[in-house]
């Protein structure tokens, strides 16, 4: 028989464990644990880094938090900044289900955005009812993204070219090509000759997405469009026959072929749809936030989408809060730089660490003693590379 203090400690431990398990069960928080702990660990390490460069980490993080949610304007700005990340994260998440790595969201959203900007400046757009004009621009964005995403899909299906490389190459090609189109004065392709900075002409007023909150950047209708997109993505993946085909191809392409599915068709369609999500982001930024297309706006939007998708364990619904967190951190980083003189790159490091810890969740599980729970999408993150 153990002595009394030990016995008491053990009983408290066990009771505490049971309470914890009960809370987790009731609120179905288990899948959230890993990302949450990953965030905690990343923030801790980030704090150490900040301290290493001689700044008080508490001060820095307080400035960051205030920059994220401090007042109404800041909160709205955070929401606004998060919106485009939803699209680029969906791009990766959707393709991931088929075992495809769409790293090309960057290029796809550029193509979608520039196409939307071009459509918005068509001469007859100003005379069309606002609703149609907006729909046309959004459609242009979707199609641009689908085109740019479809190319690596076709290459993968027809030639076996790995989409990681082809999408990355297409990112750069898109960037160069679009940069030329926007910069070129002789001949003038898309450049707004009246402006000093290289950008396209502003789109017609009636083609702009309605603004909800006039913050900086503004919250506009694109928010609903992109939330709708994630709902749509989840619906397609979980409730349609096509979604089933996608999941089968992702799990075992040979089994899919044996079951009579056209794997090549699935790959091409998945990549195109995935690209169109990114294109939607691009169009939303052009039609809502800026009113024109300027290449510099979109830097890193695609790559961050990858991290967000992985943080959300490629669950389309989870992408929304993950994108919100991400966008808020970036929004708050500027205040952190202003007040605590810490570079915005610290936020980037924290983000990268979060990604690392989510990907290597065994580290987090070991540190925080979390049990393994398989969620619907988590298994894709482990093991072999799918299709």
């Amino acid at each position: 028989m153990t002595s009394d203090p030990d016995n008491l400690n053990q009983r408290i431990d066990r009771a505490g464990g049971r309470v914890r398990a009960a809370v987790l069960e009731t609120f179905r928080l288990q899948p959230l644990l890993i990302p949450f702990y990953a965030l905690v660990l990343a923030v801790l390490i980030g704090g150490v880094l900040i301290a290493l460069v001689g700044v008080n980490p508490f001060e820095a993080y307080w400035a960051l938090l205030r920059g994220m949610f401090g007042n109404g304007d800041r909160l709205a700005g955070s929401i606004a900044r998060s919106v485009p990340f939803i699209g680029s994260a969906l791009a990766l998440a959707f393709a991931f289900r088929a075992g495809l790595f769409n790293i090309g969201a960057e290029g796809q959203l550029l193509v979608g955005g520039v196409l939307a900007a071009w459509v918005g400046t068509w001469a007859w757009i100003a005379d069309v009812p606002g609703f149609f004009a907006v729909v046309l621009m959004v459609l242009a964005g979707l199609m641009g993204g689908a085109f740019w995403g479809g190319i690596p899909g076709v290459l993968r299906a027809k030639t076996g070219a790995h989409e990681v490389i082809s999408t990355i190459m297409l990112n750069s090609i898109a960037l160069f090509f679009i940069r030329w189109m926007v910069n070129s004065r002789n001949p003038v392709v898309l450049r707004d000759v009246a402006s000093t900075v290289p950008r396209t002409e502003p789109v017609a007023d009636n083609a702009l997405l309605p603004k909800i909150v006039d913050s900086s950047p503004p919250v506009h209708f694109g928010l609903f469009l992109l939330i709708g997109a994630s709902v749509l993505a989840a619906f397609i993946l979980n409730r349609t026959i096509f979604g089933f085909e996608v999941a089968t191809v992702g799990a075992n392409a040979d089994a899919a072929t044996y079951a009579g599915m056209n794997v090549n068709r699935v790959i091409i369609v998945v990549m195109a749809v995935s690209g169109s999500f990114a294109g939607l982001s691009g169009a939303s930024e052009v039609a809502g936030t800026a009113g024109f297309f300027q290449p510099g706006f979109f830097l890193a939007m695609g790559f961050d989408g990858i991290a967000i998708a992985l943080l959300a364990r490629v669950n389309p619904y989870a992408i929304i809060p993950a994108a919100l967190l991400w966008g808020s951190m970036l929004n708050g980083a500027s205040l952190m730089q202003q007040e605590a003189d810490v570079s915005v790159d610290v936020v980037r490091i924290i983000q990268a660490l979060v990604l690392l810890f989510v990907a290597a969740d065994a580290i987090v599980r070991y540190v925080f003693r979390v049990k393994v729970v398989e969620d619907t999408y988590g298994s894709v993150l482990r093991g072999s590379s799918g299709a």
């Binding site: 490389i165 030329w180 570079s343 790159d345 980037r348 290597a360 065994a362 590379s385």
Partner: protein, 419 residues
Amino acid sequence: MSRGSRRSAALFGGVGVLLLAGLLPNLSGERKTISFDRPPDEPNFGFDPAVVVGIVGALFVVVAVLTALLPRSASLVRWLRLAAGVSVIPLLLAVSLDLSPSSSTNVVNLLNESLVLSTPLVLGAMTGLWSERSGIINIGIEGMMLSAAGVGFTAYAVLGGAQGTGWLVLSILIAVIMGALAALLLAVLAIRFSVNQIVAGVAINLFALGLTGFLRSQVIVGRGVSIGTPTADFGLPILSSIPVVGDQLFRGKPIYFLTYAVVVATWFVMYRTPWGLRVRAAGENPHAAETLGVDVIRIRYQSVILGGLIAGLAGAWFSMETQARFEDNMTNAAGFIALAALIFGKWTPWGAAAGAVLFGFARALGSRLQILNVSIGDFEIPSEFFQSLPFIVTIVVVAGALGRAVPPAAEGRPFHPSK
């Protein structure tokens, strides 16, 4: 005649006819010069671009006809196809000279430039080779190079203010070690935690971007050191005195010369030593290797870290050899192009090196064409097109324009030792 050779004959024939009928009549007819050294008194070779186009066009047509008539495997056909492929290079030069207002261009330094520019690509391909032959997909080459470049230059700036040969050498060593550390991270994620290897690679790339951005803005800019002294040129003792080519080919910077050594060493170790054999076994059939007593886990760690050391060297090239500075995302997709070169080279050292040199050539050609101010009619081809040339070439190559490539059999699958 098989469908493949029919397609091939059509392709060659089409290009040949296009060259002869479409391009030839539209050339300017001016005589152009290819020079082999810097002026003055450079040995040169004057020619009429029309002649080059005519010869290459005829060659393509001949290949098309022979492909249609002879069996595919006939060695004459294969050699001629190779010759046709290679002849694209002088063709490109001739056509661009014709389309440009300049009358001559130096080809030896074009060659030199291609080789120098291909340095990180060759090194990156070797990195990928070591990792992938042991069975670990390495998407993180880019991140390894970038973090090495960033950390190395940071060390250089902090320790010596980006001056001083001693500090430079030390910083290069630090860069090499940083590459190995990044590779260690990949290895741990992929081997110990069985993380999806592509995800792990992407994570490393993102982490490298964040880390180096942070180092640049907090430390390098903070120190006010933006540019410093890079490694110096030197000439190989006897070889650099060879006329014409000596100065161009045998004069260069240390990491560039080391690269050749790395390729040869890689070939030798991988194919002529027992350890190299074990590495290859671990990548092809780890379970079989395990039954023979190979410690697959250990081999994979060693191999990936070795690759990381090489990537570190590549990173040092970026921030301490071409120039001594560090910019955000300095590597600019070089790691991915290197991966494409590896695939192009069918996961062999010489093949991968050749592929990397090809991509380096695309880059050098791009900037050369830019200098030549090539324009079609009144339309001046924009610089962005030339900048995107290496990426376009990469896609064309990866899309199997040159045949499908088969990776090491056990690649990508986590290995679980049987107990």
